[in-house]
């Protein structure tokens, strides 16, 4: 059993290398991506919407599409996401949108690869789904 890094997790992660004003969002260099379907709970997704940095979700999806070193597994259909998330006329979220968000936040996993600091280019390795964010002494 191994760990896998969701894009929801990536949404919160930043580089803390000394001297970088800009450590977020981390670029994703994926060597291995997996899709693992999980049960859909619309209330949970709705609760997450105000917490996430949505632009980063779009960015992460784009990173995976463009910078995956291997072909994406066939079961991964990167959902087509809108520019912004908005409620419909009934002040609710469209169910299809919630399902897409669910897939993108929780079911697409980076298993191997690197996270890259946008400010310094420093690469943080992801091994067996666990990113190693420990800085070297000269980076503190």
């Amino acid at each position: 059993e191994i760990f896998k890094m969701r894009l929801l997790t990536h949404n919160y992660m930043q580089s803390t290398v000394k001297g970088t004003e800009n450590g977020y969002p981390l670029q994703i260099e994926a060597d291995k991506i997996e899709y693992e379907e999980s049960p859909f709970d619309p209330d949970f997704v709705i609760a997450l919407i105000p917490k996430i940095e949505y632009k980063t979700i779009l960015f992460a999806v784009q990173q995976i599409a463009e910078r995956c070193s291997t072909d994406l597994p066939s079961e991964i259909q990167l959902p087509d996401l809108p520019e912004t998330i908005e409620k419909d006329d009934n002040s609710e979220y469209d169910k299809e949108l919630l399902k897409k968000l669910h897939v993108v936040l929780l079911d697409i996993h980076v298993v191997q690869g690197h996270l890259v600091c946008p400010g310094t280019g420093r690469r943080f390795k992801i091994t067996q789904g666990i990113p190693n964010m420990i800085l070297h002494e000269d980076e503190i």
């Binding site: 997790t9 930043q14 000394k18 503190i140």
Partner: protein
């Protein structure tokens, strides 16, 4: 001479994480190195030349041992009762260095009585015993004291004590027969024994042998012929025989107080060297200047934490996880804190270890991102709770299948709490449990709090918990000092492979073959980790974890230094201090 509590606190300081051990040295006859660990205060005693290094500024850093611990300013000139009271207050505060300062002052003031006896078979234990030639009575000093036949004579005291050597004798270690260098030290060698009994052997120049039993907490005075004429030694063996009973030796720590003297002038006179002392603790080698550090190095990982926290958890990760149930249920305050979180909260679990609190967070309908410095420990958090499903209660806010999904793939990253790899103001809450007591300096503790305050958004809440110096009344556990080593008994079969250990590198063969031989693995870890020892009798590797035990109010005081943190609630529960705060 000292109480059992004073002994515990002294030992915790003298053999604890801040103990200023001297670099190892060759012995006088250069036949090998001095194997015992030693410390010097005031002036270094150099084993190669068997003399005192009088010039603290010469010989580079090796002559600049820590100063003699001294009493704080407001205690100078206090009376004996006040001194004892200060010593006991220091014991309550787990403050070993202040206890040491009090003991030094007590010895300087002590009036040793000359007591004569002709009964040399009587080796009664007394608080101060002095060894003599057979049949000697009185005037030269140096007499075996017994309770049966004391004769009062001139008072004898040593107010100019300016040098201390601490010797640690592990089971089976001893010290060769010698007379302390005459030109180095004046009369009056005083030794406080702690931790174990032992029997010291005295030999006169004619070959007469005397045995003196030194029980723990006793004070030994060697004066006159006992100091200048009789040599003394501790035989290297595992037991001693006292009154026809065999006493097993344990680790013994002796504190020897001496008066170092100047070289003789033309008239042959000497005088005591001036006292080099300080009430700044913990005592350190070298200049105070060298110990100051700039901002960044203030939070760099100290060696103590590397070898006594990080390396230990890396090694014991598997056993730690397997025995988690034994180490107690989740701390109630923390689970309450998590239950109060709104559904869908993002929680940072900083120093999450094996993910002990993950299930509670999922049950609260929230998403946790855990970080820890130990990768092996993080790896045990997968399926963080194997009986997770069965623990679900009616208050669980996520549907069970979602929780299982989260449980199967916990979100974790390897990271140092000094630099939490999360964006500013992104989390709704953070917990930091059993982490602060592994941070060894104030700047690091502040940095951890600062980082927690940074990643949690304004209005969010943080829960920090750490071990308390004062434990529950009912608890058997008692911490003897504020900075201590807490042992962890590791079974070799659980110990994980160590990358880059010296034995690993030299052998280079398959770990599986080696792990079946428990002793081999244990030896590998004993060498790989500084301070770990192999207990042959129990077949366990004993790691020493560095811990800082918090005094009442100490955590709150640290939090008060962080401007955007406001304390909501703090207290003591189950042997821990906790603080719940809000980011403002």
């Amino acid at each position: 001479f000292i109480t059992a509590d004073q002994e515990s606190v002294l030992l915790a300081a003298l053999t604890g994480p801040n103990a200023p051990w001297a670099p190892s040295q060759q012995n006088f006859s250069k036949t090998g190195s001095v194997k015992r660990r030693v410390q010097h205060y005031g002036y270094v005693f150099d084993y190669e030349t068997a003399n005192v290094l009088r010039d603290r500024d010469s010989d580079g850093i090796d002559a600049k041992c820590p100063p003699m611990p001294s009493l704080p300013m407001d205690c100078a000139g206090c009376c004996d009762e006040e001194l004892e009271s200060f010593a006991n207050d220091s014991v309550k505060n787990g403050d070993g260095w202040n206890v040491l300062a009090a003991v030094i002052e007590k010895v300087r003031r002590y009036q040793f009585q000359d007591e004569a006896t002709s009964n040399l078979d009587n080796q009664d234990v007394v608080d101060n015993s002095v060894v003599s030639e057979e049949g000697a009575r009185g005037n030269d000093g140096g007499i075996v004291a017994t309770k049966t036949n004391p004769i009062r004579a001139a008072p004898l005291s040593f107010p100019n004590i300016n040098q201390i050597t601490v010797n640690e004798y592990k089971r089976g270690q001893g010290i060769g027969s010698h007379i302390d260098t005459e030109s180095a030290f004046g009369d009056g060698l005083i030794s406080l024994s702690m931790g174990s009994d032992c029997v010291m052997e005295f030999r006169s120049k004619e070959g007469t042998k005397k045995l003196v039993h030194l029980p723990p907490r006793s004070l030994l005075l060697m004066s006159g012929p006992a100091r200048f004429y009789w040599s003394h030694q501790i035989v290297t063996r595992m037991t001693d025989c006292v009154d026809n009973k065999v006493i097993s030796r344990r680790t013994r720590v002796s504190l020897t107080l001496r008066t170092a003297i100047s070289l003789a002038d033309e008239s042959g006179n000497t005088s005591p060297l001036h006292i080099v002392e300080s009430s700044s603790f913990p005592p350190k080698w070298g200049d105070a200047r060298n110990n100051a550090s700039d901002d960044t190095s203030d939070i760099a990982t100290p060696e103590t934490e590397r070898s006594h926290v990080h390396a230990v958890y890396d090694a014991i990760a598997t056993q730690w996880h397997h025995t988690r149930g034994k180490r107690g249920v989740l701390w109630p305050g923390a689970t309450q804190f998590l239950k109060e979180l709104p559904t869908g909260s993002i929680v940072a679990d900083v120093g999450c270890g094996d993910g002990k609190y993950f299930p509670a967070i999922w049950e609260a309908g929230s998403y946790v991102i855990g970080t820890d410095i130990s990768e092996p420990l993080l790896q045990t958090s997968i399926g963080a709770c194997s009986d997770f499903e069965s623990k679900l209660g009616p208050e669980s806010r996520l549907i069970s299948s979602v929780r299982s999904g989260l449980n199967a793939r916990p979100a974790v990253a390897v990271a140092d709490c000094m630099q939490i790899p999360m964006r500013t103001n992104s989390c709704d809450a953070a917990i930091c449990i059993a982490v602060m007591h592994h941070l060894s300096t104030t700047p690091r503790r502040l940095q951890c709090l600062r980082e927690l305050a940074r990643v949690v958004k304004p209005g969010g809440r943080i829960n920090v918990q750490a071990w308390a110096l004062k434990q529950d009344e009912a608890s058997k556990r008692k911490f003897a000092g504020t900075d201590v080593f807490v042992p962890f008994n590791a079974q070799p079969r659980y110990l994980k492979k160590v990358q880059n250990s010296p034995i690993e590198r030299s052998k280079g063969n398959n770990l599986k073959e080696r792990t079946t031989k428990c002793q081999g693995v244990a030896e590998m870890y004993s060498e790989a980790y500084d301070g770990a020892e192999y207990d042959e009798r129990k077949g366990l590797v004993v790691f020493q974890r560095y811990c800082h035990m918090y005094r009442e109010g100490e955590l709150e005081d640290l939090v008060s230094h962080i401007n955007n943190l406001e304390i909501e609630h703090s207290g003591f529960e189950s042997g821990n201090h906790f603080v719940i705060m809000k980011v403002v």
